[in-house]
């Protein structure tokens, strides 16, 4: 049984059709990578799945439950979480405070208006655990806007994971990174526990083949192939679109 | 029946006044992203300028022209001197235009006092049109005519001219207009002056209908804001429809529920917002 099932969704902006009958299946724990040239509709697909954009037609199931009409915050509570292509953090807050904000989302006292958040010991404990696990304890009091770009990307993922999701959507986790940072991030993604299914939009083919169990190729808003890394690597059409053009990326 | 039609005409005339002032407000908002809280005082200023020149035995039409020109020039000065410093800064805009509205309103009070005044209907139009037993004051018909003319002009400017294309592009994508090598500063000054002139024009035309009194600037500002909200941000077409709607409903409201006319208009706004949070003709915000 698939964890996330996207069935024939379409989306257009005014006269511009961005997604045509896109379907996708993700199994529990699977690493599913979405590739495709710029403008293929990858980020729009994420926005539709998380209902930041309403879909025109089709359906989306999470654990067999139709979710296409549920609001973004509701989806988090059902176990689906995401990151954004551009860093989307709270720049004036410290690393620790960013994590606090993310962690409170699942607490029953998130509507409490009287007792200070700072005095909650469970939040502190969980924050420390995350900081230790990812070896960034020394950075805890730094304002996020003063972190390096790579650190911000990492924090972006950590915030999304704070809700303890079953499935995590990562929108270009390595975009804008130096080769060193990219390698680091690729490794981090591979370290994520298998209890979380990942759907990753990624451009860097090295990263794609390092993490993918399954790859879906999106082109002009249509799925042209969904299969194992081997199938994708050997597919003529994909070669044409992706590797045929000027870019000399190789796996 | 004849009373009903006469009321309808009054409502339409008011609606057209609201349209003229709201059009300026909404174009400034759409193109420059500025809420001009001093817009109501420009309306008031327009009426008082005509008042002064008529008192000097000047023809109404010449006085009206002077009023429109002066408010346009004031618009240019305000934009060049002050408004241009606050683009993109919402709080500063509010503070600045709020301060300006205080200054202008106080200047008006200083020069013209707090007594209630009226503008005479211009001699040429001080007559009524009789169709059967129905009587329509010519001046109201004239105001409706001017309002429609303005709508036509805006339509022409928007869809048939280069300047309209630039402004439409500006509404959709600010950066692009700059990239096209168009002098954005000049466009903004022009738009602001145009909006100010419209406020002046509607004040001048509105003088004979609603008179001049302390607090009129606030009343007109609030009504035109409601018109803009119902019509949709930056859409003059929306303002046209909603101005007529508000003018007519308000006029009938005053007849049927004298003490609740404002409430009715406000409730209409709430209903529109519940159904369409971006207004009737507003762009959808993702």
């Amino acid at each position: 049984m698939s964890l996330l099932k996207v069935e024939n969704i379409s989306k257009s902006f005014k006269t511009l059709q961005v997604l045509y009958n896109v379907s996708l299946e993700v199994k529990p724990g699977e690493r599913h990578v979405i590739i495709g040239p710029n403008g293929a509709g990858k980020t729009t697909l994420f926005n539709c799945i998380t209902n930041l954009l309403p879909i025109d037609s089709g359906s989306i199931y999470l654990d067999g439950k139709e979710i296409s009409k549920l609001s973004p915050h509701h989806l988090v509570h059902l176990g689906m979480s995401r990151t954004f292509q551009k860093n989307n953090l709270f720049g004036d807050l410290t690393v620790e405070e960013n994590l606090h904000l993310a962690l409170v989302a699942k607490k029953s006292y998130r509507y409490n208006i009287f007792s200070p958040l700072a005095s909650r010991s469970d939040i502190k404990k969980e924050t420390n655990r995350i900081l230790d696990q990812w070896e960034i304890s020394s950075r805890r009091h730094i304002k996020v806007k003063n972190l390096s770009y790579g650190e911000q990307r990492l924090l972006e993922v950590l915030l999304a994971m704070a809700s303890n999701p079953k499935i995590l959507l990562l929108d270009e986790p390595t975009s804008g990174m130096s080769p060193a940072e990219t390698a680091q991030t690729s490794e981090m993604i591979q370290k994520l526990p298998r209890s979380i299914a990942l759907v990753v939009i990624e451009h860097d083919m090295e990263v794609v083949f390092a993490i993918a169990d399954r790859i879906t190729v999106l082109h002009h808003g249509e799925v042209i192939l969904s299969g194992s890394p081997e199938e994708v690597r050997n597919n003529e059409m994909v070669k044409e679109i992706y590797f045929g053009g000027g870019a000399k990326q190789h796996a | 029946m004849s009373i009903f039609l006469a009321q309808l005409l009054t409502g339409l005339a008011y609606g057209m006044l609201y349209f003229m002032i709201a059009a300026g407000l909404t174009i400034i908002l759409g193109v420059m992203n500025v809420v001009n809280l001093a817009h109501g005082t420009l309306f008031m200023l327009g009426a008082y300028i005509v008042f002064t020149f008529i008192s000097d035995e000047l023809n109404f039409w010449i006085a009206l022209l002077i009023s429109v020109l002066l408010t346009a020039v004031l618009g240019i000065i305000l934009e060049k001197l002050l408004i241009k410093h606050v683009y993109g800064k919402e709080l500063e805009q509010v503070l600045l235009t709020f301060g300006l509205s205080f200054i202008i309103a106080d200047v008006v009070k200083w020069i013209w006092g707090t007594e209630m005044q009226t503008l005479p209907v211009p001699a040429l139009l001080d007559a009524s049109l009789s169709i059967g037993e129905m009587v329509f004051p010519l001046y109201r018909l004239f105001v409706v005519f001017i309002g429609c003319l303005l709508a036509l002009l805006l339509w022409y400017l928007e869809s048939k001219t280069r300047i309209g294309a630039i402004i439409r592009a500006g509404v959709d994508d600010r950066a692009m207009v700059g990239a096209l090598g168009i002098n954005v500063g000049l466009v903004f000054t022009g738009v602001f002056a145009f909006g100010a002139a419209l406020a002046g024009l509607s004040g001048a035309l509105g003088g004979p209908l609603i008179g001049m009194y302390t607090g009129m600037d606030n009343e007109i500002l609030v009504t035109s804001l409601i018109v803009v909200v119902i019509g949709g941000l930056g859409s003059w077409k929306g303002s046209f429809i909603s101005a007529i709607l508000v003018g007519v409903i308000e006029t009938f409201g005053k007849v049927w529920f004298p003490s609740l006319s404002m409430l009715i208009v406000f409730l209409i706004m709430m209903v529109v917002l519940i159904i369409r949070p971006q207004g009737l003709f507003g762009r959808e915000v993702a």
Binding site: P72, H73, V76, F84, F90, L93, L101, A102, V104, K106, K107, R110, Y111, I113, F114, S115, P116, L117, A118, R139, K143, S148, G150, E151, L154, L159, A160, S163, A180, A183, Q184, E187 | L29, N33, V35, V86, L91, E92, V94, L95, L96, F98, G99, L100, F102, I103, A105, D106, W110, N218, L221, L225, I226, L233, M262, L263, F266, I274, P277, Q278
Partner: protein
């Protein structure tokens, strides 16, 4: 937290000590400042902690004031009357807020302005109950269980205590989970939604609390001024409170209170010399905008930093040392 506690104690001492040095006129002025500070802090809450710029907040102030004036003719218990004021203004905020907060920022500004003006017109037009444009005098007398409050000094202490309580409640809210989340939503709404927060609930919560507190300030004003008029809900009054918030400092709790003090003192001072206060106020606003950002509280902090040569709290340039060893692989 400790710093906040010390500040609060200092504030209480200041409020208690002021009558020792003030004249009767000063005491009256200070009393008015406390009331206006509560009002300004209520607006400062949604402006600085929820990113909602309202130009209709005087509407809630007017509701509170007229509740005491009108219902006070039939209800004499001050606690009950204050409670009714707070509940009515809070409920009004809740109901209108459901519609208002769905809109974008410019819309919110314009709609709240229209809302305040609506109440202004209603108070004006419902003459049989409100006295219309002439306003009405307030017959209810403040009595909190230890005698009727009539003397300037008694009013001073009551309003001073009310101010401190309002400040502490707001401080608690700002530090609470809901307060922190609301602030997060102001910074980045889409992200908070993606983290699993129902952003509308928090915005509505802040708006409701703010409206209720503004109503509370209005009801205190009603007792203090013994006269209410539609002007209490006019949008120019809303605008003036916004000015207090902005000149005091948006994004801080106490800034709006400082702004209210400065504004009211200036108003009183200048009005004794000239009738042209509106023009002067307008000019001050224009100048404030032109000379730059921030409110008084930001300037105070800036001077404090210079005087005490404080080290900047942020560490300088970004450092990239996390897991360097992994890069080598």
């Amino acid at each position: 937290m400790k710093k906040i506690f010390i500040y609060t104690v200092l504030l209480i001492l200041l409020v208690l000590a002021m009558p020792l040095v003030l004249s009767d006129f000063g005491i009256n002025l200070a009393t008015e400042i406390y009331i206006m500070s509560i009002f300004a802090m209520s607006l400062g809450l949604i402006m600085g902690y929820a990113g909602m710029v309202s130009l209709g907040h005087a509407g809630f102030f007017g509701i509170g004031a007229y509740t005491v004036a009108v219902i006070g003719q039939y209800v004499s218990n001050s606690y009950l009357l204050l409670l009714i004021s707070v509940v009515i203004s809070g409920l009004t905020a809740l109901i209108t807020g459901v519609v208002f907060i769905r809109t974008s920022k410019f819309y919110f500004l314009m709609i709240t302005l229209a809302f305040g003006q609506l109440l202004y017109v209603l108070f004006w037009q419902l003459k049989p109950w409100t006295g219309g444009a002439d306003g009405m005098s307030v017959s209810a007398i403040l009595n909190l269980g230890f005698g009727e409050i009539l003397s300037p000094n008694a009013f001073y202490y009551v309003m001073g205590v009310a101010f401190i309580i309002a400040y502490i409640l707001l401080r608690l809210f700002v530090e609470s989970p809901a307060g922190k989340i609301t602030k997060g939503i102001m910074e980045n709404e889409a992200r908070m939604s993606a983290l699993g927060y129902n952003v509308r609930v928090y915005k509505l919560l802040a708006y409701t609390l703010s409206g209720a507190l503004a109503g509370f300030a209005g009801s205190l004003y009603s007792y203090f001024n013994v006269f209410v008029s539609p002007d209490l809900s006019s949008w120019t009054f809303s605008g003036q409170v916004m000015v207090m918030v902005i000149i005091g400092g948006v994004g801080t709790l106490f800034g709006p209170a400082i702004g209210a003090s400065v504004f009211i003192c200036l108003q009183n001072f200048i009005s004794t010399y000239t009738e042209r206060w509106p023009m002067i106020m307008g000019a001050i606003l224009v100048i404030l905008v032109l000379i730059g950002k921030g409110g008084i509280i930001h300037w105070l902090r800036y001077f404090k930093d210079i005087i005490f040569l404080r080290k900047q709290t942020d560490e300088g340039a970004p450092q990239n040392q996390v897991k360097k060893e992994e890069v080598v692989n």
